[in-house]
Point group: C2
Chain length 214, copies 2
């Protein structure tokens, strides 16, 4: 039980506060001191619940893995299962943009990580993919999904209006665009017609799914 009435600090509370700070946009400035302040404690007290900052990040990444919709091994429509898996990953990675580069780079994979990858391989194997083919399929899908999330993360605007404004600023900052006529075309076209990431994502995803067969 907790001393002095305050409800007890746990690893879950620490990770929850860190997740909130990271999602709030302050991932690159996320620090042990700020997490500690968010849970009303001094920095060093966190070390009773996480081994170090790396361990804290491992915990965050596994929470994100837990939010992903794992495909069901043995699903009737394996292609649709993979489609829904992909859209789930894009949604989740957009909620937690800081996580994009970290998902597959943890040395110590957490339980949700294992669960998710096991389900993906299971779905492919049960759909009739051979072992090598299943690895190929998950590799190309994940590369595309993470790569798309990476590109989507790096654009500093969300609405089409912001989009246009940013492009104008960028164009103004570059002294002479005449050597790059094809880029000028992209920028003017996008400034007027906007850009829809969801459509773009679906295009590439369907292209890849169409090329996959057991």
């Amino acid at each position: 039980m907790s001393p002095r009435g305050r409800e007890p600090l746990t690893r879950e509370r620490v990770l929850g506060a860190a997740l909130e700070l990271a999602d709030g946009g302050g991932f690159e400035s996320l620090s042990m001191r700020k997490v500690a302040a968010a849970v009303g404690v001094e920095a060093m007290s966190l070390y009773n619940h996480v081994a170090n900052k790396e361990d804290l990040l491992d915990g965050l990444v596994d929470i994100v893995f837990g939010e992903l919709e794992a495909p069901e091994p043995g699903a009737a429509d394996w292609k649709d299962a993979l489609r829904r898996r992909a859209h789930s990953m894009r949604d989740v990675l957009n909620r937690h943009r800081w996580a994009v580069g970290l998902m597959e780079s943890r040395v110590a994979p957490g339980p949700e990580n294992l669960r998710f990858h096991n389900a993906t391989m299971g779905c492919l194997r049960e759909a009739g993919f051979g072992f090598r083919e299943a690895v190929h399929a998950s590799s190309v899908l994940d590369a595309y999904i993470y790569g798309f999330a990476l590109q989507e993360r790096s654009l500093p605007f969300d609405t089409p209006e912001e989009h246009g404004a940013v492009i104008e600023v960028k164009q103004a900052a570059i002294p002479d665009m005449t050597p790059f006529p094809y880029l000028v075309e992209v920028m003017t076209e996008m400034a007027t017609a906007g850009y829809d990431y969801a459509t773009e994502f679906a295009f590439g995803l369907e292209l890849i799914l169409a090329g996959l067969e057991p």
Copy 2:
């Protein structure tokens, strides 16, 4: 001219030293003080040649863009031009693994960045792709390439022998793998047969290229 005979420090020398440190594996611990020491100067002296650390990173990223093989607008075989572009990107991103997450996230794109993207769009437009289709094509290709590089970067081994060793360690660290039979299959299979990134990359690339037509 330089005082005291020592050849003058330039932005290029600063970026060169920083690139060497980053490629040497110390990107996450790259600091202004270390770059300064590498060029025989105090940290604050760097600020005569770069605005700040962000500007230094912008410079590094543009150097990497400069190493990429840009496709030629109007190439006879546009598909092969894109294929060579993709392999060039994988090669370069493997030489500069720290750059993977940074390439498309710079607020201020450098001249080599502009040159490369202009060439890519030009190659697609001249191959007969409509404007929207060209954007689709470059989006799916780049997402795949960057995503693949991201996954390749995060694996902490290079040779098949190291690969096996790492897998054994990982498997030993996880208490009970029985809930994840499909993962066990992957790990044992890979430990014996190894894993070839080049083949894996080519598989996905050809799948995507096969699905692209003007």
